[in-house]
């Protein structure tokens, strides 16, 4: 069994209640931090841990905290990003549903470190039942004196507010989230200024992912150095992976960063291998936004060494042969999956979710969806394939927020690695449009 930092107690019956969570050692980090540490000491431990943002960008959490501006007389905010809407990602949903107090405890420790007295958990509105679970947990913690006024007699006050979203992927982007939290449309803001300087209500704000915040109780209890000892080099600690697609055991797994990708897919401890009678074709390793890789490239690096589940190893080779860890949405495709259809599906998603502020994203996502639809439905031309590459390139890097890149990369990478499959759709429209039809050429088989 690998190291467990977040999910160690997930199977304890009743762990969603305060009492059981407390019996398993819960809320000791709040006691330790508030009674024996200064806020700066808490920040210092988080810095030492090396933990990187689990929402996808991987920015070091302690560094972000130390960038928080602290002008006199201006409130500071902590906002937890529980929007979780990246296709293939469902880990935060799982964590909040099963062990809500871990997030609440993390919010208290983190808010204390940042000097925030009002903190928010922004949860995608579809997860209303999870919002009720969190609100119940907050009530329990408040009744026990861990939240509210004068926590544990320390003089520190904290109020936690759970805010529902309204169904918009873009509100996972931190500045769109802040706009939404202010009661507006979710249009991303220009960065800089980063939220750490101008965030919620124009005040200094830290936005962190659910899983990032949930690491803080362990870090405070065990020390930042102990956390940094888990994992490999700059990929410290553990990571929740949401595994879906054609595997035997879809689900959420906590892995120590550094597990070989091959072991993650085939070991019974994790995915349990590809479903019977089928074999691996491709993987999207970090949520729909990251480049798709064919089987040979996801399992091995260019030098033939095994690829590992770390930020560095997954991105090894750049976009030519690599991908990204992203949010850890690990989507597995066996040989029955049609890459063209999946690419069209994802591009429809990005077109649907573009907020429409920048023309390369608004127009480009619509264009890509249309062209992919045409190819998938047997009306494509050979030059459409290069047109897609061209449109993707023109979106990339030319937009306010990275949704544009997120829309471009899946298309560009699918064509890079599975070009023959697109060509086959163009040259064999009749065969390709049969239900369940998949290109069986050499390349797809790797």
């Amino acid at each position: 069994m690998g190291k467990k930092i977040l999910l160690e107690h997930i199977n304890v019956p009743g762990i969603e209640t305060f009492d059981v969570y407390r019996k398993q050692g819960g809320y000791t980090a709040v006691e330790k931090a508030i009674k024996t540490m200064t806020p700066d000491e808490v920040v210092e431990e988080v810095k030492k841990s090396g933990v990187r943002g689990r929402g996808g960008a991987g920015f070091p959490m302690g560094m972000k905290w130390s960038f928080l501006a602290k002008p006199e007389g201006v409130p500071r905010y902590l906002v937890c990003n529980a929007d979780e809407s990246e296709p293939g990602t469902f880990k935060d949903h799982y964590l909040m549903k099963h062990i809500p107090h871990l997030l609440i405890e993390g919010m208290i420790v983190s808010s204390f470190a940042l000097g925030a007295n009002k903190s928010f958990i922004y949860v995608r509105g579809e997860l209303m039942y999870v919002i009720y679970i969190l609100e119940r947990a907050i009530e329990e913690a408040k009744a026990k004196g861990f939240l509210g006024k004068n926590i544990l007699g320390s003089g520190y006050d904290l109020e936690l507010i759970v805010q529902p979203g309204g169904g918009a992927y873009i509100c996972g982007e931190e500045t769109a989230l802040l706009e939404s939290l202010e009661g507006k449309r979710g249009n991303p803001r220009n960065k800089p200024p980063f939220p750490a300087v101008k965030g919620l209500y124009q005040s200094p704000t830290v936005v962190n992912n659910v899983e990032s915040i949930a690491t803080t109780p362990w870090i405070i209890n065990n020390g930042g150095d102990a956390y940094a000892a888990v994992g490999i080099s700059r990929s410290t600690g553990t990571k929740l992976i949401s595994a879906s697609g054609h595997i035997k055991k879809p689900g959420v797994y906590e892995i120590e960063l550094g597990v070989p990708v091959e072991e993650f897919i085939y070991s019974d401890e994790w995915c349990g291998g590809i479903r019977d009678g089928h074999y691996l074709k491709a993987v999207v390793a970090g949520g729909s936004s990251v480049p798709i890789l064919p089987a040979n490239l996801i399992l091995k690096l260019a030098n033939n060494e095994p690829r590992l589940m770390t930020y560095e190893s997954l991105s090894d080779g750049g976009f030519q042969t690599g991908t990204m860890l992203g949010s850890g949405g690990f989507i597995v495709f066996d040989e029955t999956a049609c890459i063209v259809r999946n690419t069209w599906n994802f591009s429809r998603f990005y077109h649907h979710e573009s907020c429409g502020q920048c023309s390369p994203c608004r127009e480009g996502t619509g264009w890509m969806e249309k062209v992919l639809h045409r190819i998938e439905h047997g009306h494509g031309h050979m030059h459409d394939i290069d047109l897609l590459v061209d449109v993707a390139r023109k979106i990339e890097g030319n937009t306010i927020c990275p949704l544009g890149d997120a829309a471009a990369w899946p298309v560009a990478s699918a064509i890079r690695h599975f070009r023959e499959e697109f060509e086959w759709h163009v040259t064999h429209p009749q065969e390709a449009t049969q239900p369940g039809a998949v290109y069986k050429g050499e390349m797809a088989l790797v």
Binding site: P75, G125, G167, A168, G183, K184, S244, S288
Partner: protein
């Protein structure tokens, strides 16, 4: 658009909840209550009519347009009347890998409607949505707060028959 008359009102419980929500934001930042209030409103009326949106605007002391532009941005809010049960079906990639498209075709055939339509008896409205953060349990749809996971044609039969009673 001219503002509508005050023809709608929250139930006493929802009014109390709304006031509690409004009070939790910092002074002067009450507009933050907009999305939560729209959810409460939709829970009561099923959809957001102009009257309802104007009511929420008055409650927050903001312009009606500020409510309309927000309500139309977010896909969870219904701008037209809906059936008793709104089925929000996930159409995104990971669910499709698990047979989501086949089950969806079956569901549409069973209900005899397409996305965006309501059955003649007013029982079901079908909506296509994007990833619901439950991809490991796909195919998935949601009705109000409840997730229905691991869908198959048989599961669809069970669920629809149960809800049709």
């Amino acid at each position: 658009m001219t503002e509508t008359q005050n023809t709608v009102e929250f139930t006493p419980e929802r009014l109390a909840k709304a006031k509690e929500i409004i009070a939790r934001y910092p002074e002067g930042k009450q507009k933050s209550a907009l999305l939560p209030l729209l959810h409460v409103a939709q829970e009561q009326w099923g959809w957001l009519s102009p009257e309802v949106m104007d009511y929420v605007a008055r409650m927050l002391d903001i312009q009606p347009i500020e409510v309309y532009e927000v309500a139309t941005f977010y896909t969870m809010f219904h701008m037209d009347p809906v059936g008793k049960h709104v089925i929000e079906y996930c159409r995104t990639g990971p669910c499709c890998l698990m047979g989501g498209e086949e089950v969806y075709a079956y569901l549409k055939q069973k209900l005899g409607i397409d996305a965006g339509e309501t059955t003649a008896d007013g029982l079901f409205t079908l909506k296509e949505v994007e990833c619901l953060a439950a991809c490991g349990m796909g195919p998935v749809f949601q009705i109000r707060e409840k997730y229905y996971t691991h869908l198959t044609n048989e599961r669809v039969d069970e669920i629809i028959n149960e809800l049709s009673k």
